[in-house]
Symmetry: D2
Subunit: 206 residues, 4 copies
């Protein structure tokens, strides 16, 4: 089996990755990818890195974004993983979308269209409501960033309105729909990543 | 107590209003309004009316929209009630937003800014996910349509992802958060409607 | 060159397709596809068809949706083309998304996952503001419907806030960004459609 | 005339407030308020403050959010002013929405429902597309945060797709629609703020 490189970008606001609902679902998706290819993966917990707000490739002052961008360049599949805060992707996810603006401009050290031939997957968790709207907002932007978005590219969990957030992990782990989605997402991301490794989009002539 | 006129516009796709989750929550909100004012209310189940797609005030051919628009003009509070379909307000709700376009143009028989001094409330129900995004989309448009949107102007129910939709009504009725929201929405809509009846926005001079 | 079948679904509220901004941009995208494959295409102007609101595959009473759904099944690329009304896709586009709900249920005459191995493109036009939000809402849903969404899958035009809508077509036709987007969208949709014809997703075993 | 306290929260990513499109439009709205009341105003340029990501009232480590939250408590009208980045409010605006989460929990030093009886206005600028979606996302959340949203609560500028962003300020300043919106927003915010100062929502008994 060919090796597929996967990168998780986790935008959870919690500093401890081990207790992150979002991380747990993202890793479930990666785990299920192993049925379809050899998987090499790494994970970036964004809150543990110094990433100033801005729209340049490198804003200086110890900016860790250029190194993370290089990891993105090296990956075949990138999982954008975010919690829901007030119906929106977290400010950390929005901040890296802003930082990706320099990819679109084409003048970054990563070259023109650095995300072409890469596949994007999405993982979202929240106590209630907002996953589909966040997924939509991400897919829209990621297509303009030149990612390919396969069928079932998103796995999410949202609970019923008005429950105690402390019991979220417990209810989520019991939810069979999440496992089914993760299976579909994993299969679809890997199939598409392998296709694009073998048959990449032709380069722009200019 | 002063009488407040309430109109429910129900955009459910189901023809039988009696089994509409959305209708049941909308009527719960209206019921709780009775603690704060005399309430006179009527309800329009949009799917039972002939409302062609379009953006004029009257598109002819038995168009029932002008009569519904007149009911809106006569109301103090309008509850926009919609189910969730693929994360969006139903096509019936979108259709009446499009028909309200003529209000914004100011050349309808209802006069300039026909919705000024009216209060909008929102009711949304769906098996899972989407209420806050739909609520957001409606509040944005309704502010431009000159409605006032009070605090807690929306009451909704959404369930956990992946449950059997047939059990939605049962789970919804048990959900205490919906009752609390309905109470907050009712109180806030009535307070604001009474304020605007007594202290309306000054008319435009031109 | 292999033949690629393209279907335009145009959700314009105007009855005359010849004057539709949306149709004109959609046909520009199809025209540019001809550089990359033999293209066979047809176009459905939704407002000219009887498509009742609902969520079943066939709601009876002269319902033309099943015939349109069959055209979707026969296509390799489907262009979802919509104007913007109050920041949202038109009610006609929302109505067919609702009607596509039966695809997701898997019990339609079209079989399980009828949209797998198809590529979705998006075309949006509006006087101002809303294209990216509508594109996002569509990409989110279409991924769950099993479409593949290639890079740059959307071509749109929006004007500056507050201009005279009568001059929209004129300003749009002068706008070079629309042509560039159409070129990118065409190339990307055709490349991906050809890939999926040659290397389809494996069928589900169950 | 009574004095109305206005606070601008500017979420621009640019460090120099003097060149901020968003700031310039926000100040235009405040300027037009002076026709309707005595206005006292201050402005917080968020990027110049240390506001860590999080959801507590005070996350320590020189967190400047509690002081900004106190300014919000002291204001009658708050203008949420944001640029558009990839169709969304900036990460700085999302970050303060997350920090406002503690208002909703009711256990902050500001007391229960600290934003009740306050009026929210919105200012958005961007090269193209996204203002109405951002406005919608903000109005939805702000209603749940107990703000009142008056008619025409948002003033925005967006340009035509594909123009040179360097010419944004010039095109924006020529745009008459922005001035008209600012006038409507100013009038409506002040009328509603005065009403709520004189006739506040009744306090919760519990």
């Amino acid at each position: 089996m060919e090796t597929v490189n996967v990168l998780i970008l986790n935008a959870s606001l919690k500093k401890e990755p081990e207790s992150s609902n979002t991380q747990e679902v993202a890793e479930m998706v990666v785990g299920k990818m192993r049925d379809y290819a050899d998987i090499s993966y790494s994970s970036v917990h964004l809150i543990n890195h110094t990433i100033p707000a801005g729209v340049s490739f490198d804003v200086g002052d110890g900016d860790e974004w250029p190194a993370i961008a290089q990891k993105m360049k090296d990956a075949d599949i990138i999982l954008f993983a975010t919690p829901i805060w007030w119906g929106h992707r977290s400010s950390l996810m929005q901040k890296i979308i802003e930082r990706m603006d320099s990819f679109d401009e084409g003048d970054s050290p990563l070259g023109k269209k650095p995300m072409l031939n890469k596949v994007a997957g999405i993982v979202i968790t929240g106590s209630e409501d907002g996953a589909q709207a966040i997924m939509a907002g991400l897919t829209g932007t990621l297509s303009f960033m030149n990612f390919t978005l396969p069928p079932q590219c998103c796995t999410y969990w949202v609970g019923e309105v008005g429950q105690d957030p402390k019991t979220d992990p417990e209810r989520r782990r019991k939810n069979e729909a999440v496992g089914t989605m993760a299976e579909e997402t994993a299969k679809s991301l890997v199939h598409t990543a392998l296709l694009l490794k073998q048959h990449p989009f032709p380069s722009d002539k200019n």
